[in-house]
């Protein structure tokens, strides 16, 4: 997704001189196409995320569209107050681009995992929050939103190869994207973990269980109407995200169920514990936290059994 982001931004910058790219000294082998094409519109501000966002705020006030690039956890947590008191409260078009949602920086360890970024960003009513599921959707989402008034948080993945089956790069602000339709179980997901969900849904289909699977990439504005319509049709929904279970899609879905008085039971699959001292590959960490396709299949089977037993 980060490669798709850079390519898309270069295209946009060719026709839109207001676009600038700022980085907190990250993006090696990713940002060069922009830096080489527009050396005077690319700024490596150094390892200083607060200043990165503060400078972008000053640039945006003068009419620029600054994109602030770093690892998701660094660009969301360290300068969070600068994002709030800067572009959010002052309604300025700063774009925060966080790379590596969830466990994508697996071996780098817990400091590099973005497990609460979407949650803290979703708290802010004045911030658009976009979390694409694959590089095709990332491109569509950037094209659909880059010019939007006010600030935006893009949570991007590192993976520029994997494509989520059935998504076809679709994105629409405030809507969900269905990638599979079935009658037995609803699964709602966000970000690159969607490919694990798609695999899990295919495995469940082999066992005679048909799933409806939807991607929530437009986290804010939230696809409330789409979610309510879907949730009304199912007695059981799984939410799946490489994120703490509080704050992002699991919370959003639970809010819709509660506020609309729907009868759907929500099972939130996500990270429930602070990562321990051990690290490993993304696949290992997904499995450890119940987010691998195999683990998701087991959770779905168990919860469907619970559902059957209770009705």
């Amino acid at each position: 997704m980060r490669g798709a982001f850079t390519r898309t931004l270069v295209e946009l910058a060719e026709r839109e001189p207001r676009i600038l790219l700022l980085t907190g000294d990250l993006g090696y082998t990713v940002l060069e196409p922009f830096a080489e094409r527009f050396p005077n519109r690319f700024f490596n501000v150094g390892v200083a995320e607060q200043n990165l966002v503060g400078v972008a705020t000053g640039l945006a006030e003068a009419g620029f569209l600054p994109f602030c690039y770093s690892i998701a956890t660094f660009i969301s947590l360290r300068p969070y107050e600068f994002i709030r008191n800067g572009p959010i409260l002052q309604r300025l078009p700063v774009r925060i681009v966080g790379v590596g949602g969830g466990f994508e920086y697996g071996p780098a360890g817990a400091t590099h995992y973005a497990l609460e970024d979407v949650g803290i960003m979703r708290l802010q009513p004045g911030l658009t929050v976009i979390a694409p599921a694959d590089h095709e959707q990332a491109r569509t989402a950037v094209l659909a939103t880059w010019e939007r008034p006010g600030p935006i948080y893009y949570r991007l993945g590192k993976d520029d190869r994997t494509v989520v089956t059935g998504l076809g790069g679709r994105f629409e602000l405030g809507r969900i994207q269905l990638i599979r339709e079935g009658a037995h179980l609803l699964i709602l997901t966000m970000g690159s973990i969607a490919s694990e969900v798609a695999s899990a849904a295919a495995a469940l289909a082999d066992r005679g269980i048909s799933c409806t699977v939807a991607v929530v990439a437009s986290v804010n504005p939230a696809p409330v109407e789409d979610l309510a319509a879907l949730l009304a049709r199912f007695p059981l929904a799984l939410t799946v995200e490489a994120h703490y279970v509080s704050g992002a899609v699991g919370s959003l879905v639970s809010e819709v169920v509660a506020e609309r008085g729907l009868g759907c039971r929500v099972v939130r699959c996500g990270v429930r514990t602070t990562p321990g001292g051990t690290s490993g590959s993304q696949g290992y960490l997904h499995h450890s936290h119940g987010l691998s396709s195999n683990a998701l299949v087991q959770t779905a089977l168990k919860e469907l059994e619970v559902q059957r037993a209770s009705t």
Binding site: A48, G54, G58, E61, E81, F82, G86, Q90
Partner: protein, 267 residues
Amino acid sequence: MEESPLSSRQIRRIILDQSKRAHVGHIGSALSIADIIAALYQNVLSTPDLDDPDRDRFILSKGHAVLAVYAALFLKGWLSEQSLNTYCADGTLLGVHPEHALRGVDFSTGSLGHGLSMGAGAALAARLQRSSRRVFVLVSDAECNEGSLWEAVMFAAHHGLSNLIAIVDLNGQQALGYTDQVLSLTPMAERWRAFGWDVHDVDGHDVKAITETIASLDTTSGPPHVLIAHTVFGRGVSYMERQIKWHYWPMSDAEYRQALDEIDATP
């Protein structure tokens, strides 16, 4: 453009009147910067129109002293008396910290350590747009406790933002004590100089000296500039000067009368 008459004394009077009417504090901090604000709004800021994209920008990074700025906006004729009298009232745009929604305020502030970064961005923007506009950022001395301020200091020096002028209100006080007792900032000028800034010590209560120092700066090339403005917290009101409690304390009726008398008696 014809400048409205605007003086330190008028700014101080308004600070006292409004603080008394609203029964709020931050009086000492506002009095500390009254002469700097007078110099900026009377002599320095080029603002042909509040909406002119090429106007100079001003960021009050020590947002809690904004009453001095409201006074200047009023004296410039950019803020009505009716609006000024809503200071701290329900539904006002004139809170204890500046809000960009108020015409004449370029950036919202209130959390210390934020303004200089935005100012560096604004200065970079001016350069990219080939505008000769300048960016002024007034920070407090205790604000230099914030690490984020020094991120901006490094950035501005590295990029040679000569159109960025910081002013440090060096009054030696902060909310709970004197800066040399809380977290020493000495030597202030040497610190900025070591980071590559063009540093000028100035009497922060001498409007003429502040004005002339700024006029002497090369804002077209070279390093960014900082005025270390030596000030007295609560300046002009004897019982407030250098007193920690006047960071937050509101005035009684008697204190208000005495303060006004002292301001009026000051030549």
